[in-house]
Symmetry: C2
């Protein structure tokens, strides 16, 4: 039996928006692999004067050349601007085209409209590359953990901050030096706000929550603190206790079946799985009733990992794959911050800290230039304490 089971596949025409490193990578793979039977027919770019590594006749600055072309089946959207990306996705779906995107901001902010557009037009909208780059987290949450009761999904979902935290730990760098090194090596944007404030992680978490727990939640609802307040003293504390600091996006069900979604710097024991996720890598733990704990690890961003995820989505569209969102959309679990969380609060001794917000205090330390308190706090109180927004205060969850 020499025959293979390869399906008869329809030829697919792609319209590409954006021709940065990812776009170029995808163009290259698709033009080299004719067996995929998939061709890029048009590429919309902003700057026609730039020299490109593809035939000139492929390029245009007019979005209509893709959106109005009935021969184009799939729109692959790889531009930065979230609002412009949403307009493209919307018009494409309303024209009966399926869409592949890597824009987590656009997806998280417009999830409900995008789901409705997908349903109404009977097209697919796929975005594996938007969460943890090459790690197939969405696909696995959709397909594989479908029948299992998930208890938690938590992990390192932002490569820039993980790179910075790794440098701060291993090379004792200050936050500013580590950020500069990340920018120099292409692991952080020139405006790193979305990353370092944890907003990017919160956007990804909201996409994860949709697929894991069937609930649409905006990143603004998520209790969040980024990494900009972390000081070398905080890393010293961690090292003394055999811990490392990671920015963890976490969503777990509490004992009342309420969701607790957080993005917080978190102490991880050195020997634990997440402590091994260093530099620009991402890693996600999935805890469930049947499968117990599983771990998915890989490169979270960058040219090739993102290209890999986008190509997988394109490939899935040849078989008309779509996310079924079987856990529902709005009828999922409510979120709730009434539970207690052990935290470390680091601050300048001159700062006036209302320690009465703590349910109990375990440790309290003060020197001339640094002070900290550890103890348990109600998450609702933490959310309204003002500490999350205060750049002079570092908060690290245990």
């Amino acid at each position: 039996m020499n025959e293979t089971l390869v399906n008869i596949m329809k030829k697919i025409n792609i319209g590409l928006f954006g021709f940065g490193v990812v776009g170029e990578g995808i163009y290259k793979v698709l033009s080299e692999k004719s067996q995929l039977n998939t061709e890029i027919k048009k590429i919309v770019i902003k700057h026609p004067e730039k020299k490109r590594n593809a035939p000139a006749q492929l390029f245009t600055t007019d979005a209509k050349e893709i959106l109005d072309d009935p021969e184009i089946d799939i729109v692959v959207e790889l531009i930065d601007d979230a609002e412009a990306a949403f307009e493209i996705a919307k018009t494409a779906m309303n024209s009966g085209k399926s869409v592949v995107s890597a824009n987590k901001k656009m997806i998280a902010e417009h999830a409900s409209e995008l789901i409705e557009l997908q349903r109404k037009n009977k097209v697919s909208f796929l975005y594996e590359a938007a969460v943890c780059g090459s790690i197939p987290i969405i696909r696995n949450l959709e397909e594989y953990y479908d029948n299992d009761l998930l208890n938690y999904v938590k992990g390192i979902v932002n490569g820039s901050t993980n790179y910075i935290l790794t440098k701060m730990k291993s090379e004792n760098q200050s936050y500013d030096d580590a950020l500069f090194s990340a920018q120099k090596n292409g692991f952080a944007e020139s405006d790193p706000t979305l990353d370092v404030e944890g907003i990017d992680a919160a956007n990804k978490l909201s996409i994860i929550i949709l697929h894991a727990f069937g609930r649409l939640i905006s990143h603004e609802e998520i209790l969040r603190k980024g990494i900009t307040s972390l000081k070398t003293e905080d890393f010293q504390y961690a090292t003394e206790k055999g811990l490392v600091i990671k920015l963890i996006a976490s969503c777990q069900l509490d004992d009342k079946n309420k969701l607790i979604p957080t993005v917080l710097p978190t102490f991880i024991e050195k020997s634990k799985t997440l402590a091994l996720v260093n530099n620009e890598f991402n890693g996600v733990l999935i805890g469930s009733a049947l499968a117990d704990e599983q771990f998915l690890y890989g490169k979270g961003a960058g040219r090739f990992p993102t290209s890999s995820a986008v190509l997988s989505d394109i490939s899935a569209l040849r078989y008309s794959y779509k996310y079924e969102l079987r856990k529902g959309i709005q009828n999922g679990f409510q979120s709730n911050y009434s539970s207690l969380q052990r935290i470390y609060l680091g601050f300048d001794p001159k700062e006036n800290i209302d320690q009465n917000l703590f349910e109990n205090i375990e440790e309290s330390y003060q020197s001339n230039h640094h002070a900290y308190v550890t103890g348990s706090i109600n998450l609702e109180k933490l959310k309204s304490s003002g500490w999350l927004e205060n750049k002079a205060i570092s908060i690290i969850a245990f």
Copy 2:
């Protein structure tokens, strides 16, 4: 928008063969989760006299009550005997039923017939539970790494041997004591041969190779050594060098695009990902051109992880999912053992070892009761050396 995108799903009737811990677990989940619209209609068992936690009218000893029932859509086969399992799978597929199985021995030994049966009858044959229990390795190789050029797949795919090796290392136990402890705790069979000789790992590797590299290869073709020869002195050597010993199933493409499939005890640096896979856990590294290295980790066997994987397969069948084997079947990469491998060879000094088989020797040690040699050897020479079959000789790859 409160509506969900849940597809209209057909009601599915299941016929179950075997009612051990996994069968019972699946029965329990399906009877509790009515939203799955999936019901177990009949269960074939061998011993009707046993007390079962399910209504008596579900049970029968007559396989025909499932195989001849046109209302049964899916056969879930969970029996031990590989040949009987194959007969069930064959008859079921020839009757137009899809089949879910966890029997890696049956799958590896009859892969080509099973693929043909699937094709001929236009049914699905799924077996995620057969490789690494709850870790969705087959599904990801099939779906997600479809467009990416895989360079290697390697990992710990057998929970019993990993449990034994963990005990031998952490508690300094002898092989016999560790095996006894594994058996006592339900992590090894009373006849552990398939596990400890690496045959189970080789069967799983052959299934992985089919989905990763598009080649059918029998476990007998795979260069293989189990863990029965490992002695405390080998573990001492590992500890002194900061290494741990793991049974690694590995398949990589060499620079001539030939496959090198091996199952060998292997030294892993303590800080490396695979060194963290302990006890009954499994972990698999996937290396590819675009996505770089990814890692999937979870429980490899046991009641709940296996149930989880079987349920995912059942769930996928509601959407008529099938493995497409897009990498082909026979036209894939050839295997080749012409490359050099660094190994450690441990032996009794009284043993007559032909060290000329080594290409070069790095270390050579001898005491009254133990000797070892490290160096590079051509894998073809290792395969024909007789050392792999010799229980007095331990071989550990670097």
